[in-house]
Symmetry: C2
Subunit: 210 residues, 2 copies
Amino acid sequence: MHSAQESASRPPARKSFRATQFEAREGAILDVTNQLLAVRGYELMSMDDIAAEVGIAKGSLYKHFASKDALAVAVMLRLLRRTSEALDALPDALPAVAQLRALLEWVLRERLAGGVPHLPSTSAAVREALTRSRDYVDLLIAVSERIGTLIHRAQADGAIDSHYREEFLLYHFYARSCDPTLDFLRESGALSEEDIVEQMTSATFEGLAP
Amino acid sequence: MHSAQESASRPPARKSFRATQFEAREGAILDVTNQLLAVRGYELMSMDDIAAEVGIAKGSLYKHFASKDALAVAVMLRLLRRTSEALDALPDALPAVAQLRALLEWVLRERLAGGVPHLPSTSAAVREALTRSRDYVDLLIAVSERIGTLIHRAQADGAIDSHYREEFLLYHFYARSCDPTLDFLRESGALSEEDIVEQMTSATFEGLAP
DNA sequence: GTCTATAGTCTGATAGAC
DNA sequence: GTCTATCAGACTATAGAC
C-alpha cells in the first residue's frame, strides 16, 4: 500500500496540495490507530471507530490501507522505525550497558506518551500479520542484532552477569519494553512518570536486592 | 487428564453418577478454555471451538456457564484460587523474600505447564468482566494484601531495596508472573524449562548486574 | 450495502441413569 | 420402563470487515 513513512521534511513544495493532504491524513490515521491499539487492543478496535475518530469516511480508510491487518502492521512498523532511529541516536561513547538503559528509558517514555508497546500485546492476529510483513521482519532482525551486540558487549564489560543466556537477555529486554507494570502504575497515579521510568529501569538492571 | 478440582476421593457414593459426570465435564470445559485462552486469546476463542474441543454440544456449554464472559471469569477465578492455595502452602519459616521467589517460581511453572497468565492478557472485555465479578475482586484483594505483606517484610529484612515504592513492587511482581519472556523462550526452545524459571527469577530478584 | 463470523437460543431425537 | 440430560444442529441477532 501507500507509504506510511516520512511525511516529515517538506522540500520546496514539490507535492501537490492534494498529496500533502493525503499524507497528513495518513499520519492522522496512524496516530489514531496507535492510540486505539494501545487503549483497547486489536480485536476491540473497529475500523468504524478509527474512521470516526479521524473524522473521515470509512471508505477513505481503505484508500490508505488495504485491511485492518495492514493498518496495524503500518503502526507497528512506524514504531519499529522510530526505535531503530533511537538506537542510531545513542552516543557510541557510552558503555554498552548505559546504551541499553538509555534505549529502555526511551521506549518507556514513548509508551507513557501514548504509544503502543512493541509487541502486539496479545493478539495472535497481529503477530501473524507482522511475521508475514517482509519489511517488519527484516527491520526487527536488524534491530535485534544491534541490541544483541550491545548485550554481548555489556556482558564482556562485566556489566551484565554472564550466567544469563543471550537468548534470555534479548527476549527479556523486549519484554521489559512492553511491561504492563507501566500501565498499572500510570493508571494508579501513585508515581510520577519520571519515577515510573526510574523504578522500572532500575529494577531491570539492578534487580530488587539492595 | 488431571482432575480439575477434587474429583479425587469417592466417599460412600454421596453423589449420583450424573452429578459426578456434570462436575467432571465442568472441569474439562475449564481446562479446554484455559488452554484456548492461553493460545489464542479471548476474542479469537469461540464457544463453538470450546464445545468441539471438549466434545459436547454447544447448548450443554450454556448449562454450565451463562456466557462467554462467565466462562472466562471462571477460568481466571480457578487460577487465582490455586494461586491463593500456593500462597497458603508457602513455609512460614522461610524469609519473606524466599517466599516471594518460591511463589514466582510456582506461577512460572504453572504457565509452562500450559496455564493462562493471570492477567487477561490483552482483552479489555475479560478485564472488565473480572472487575465485575465480586468473587474475583475479593480474592484478588486478599491475595494482593498477602503479597503486599511479604513485600513489606522483605523490605524490612533488607532483602528488597527500600527505595522501591510498594505500589511499584506489587505491580512489578504481578507483571513478572505474566511475563511474555517465558513464551518467547519456550517457543524458541533455546532453554530448558528449569533454565527459563531460573533465569527469570534470578533476573527479577538479582537483576542483570553481576 | 454486503457478507461472514459468532454469541446465544431452541427443538426434536435419543441414550442411558434411575 | 420412565424420565431427563445431552446431543446435533438449525436458527436469530448483531457486530464488524470490507
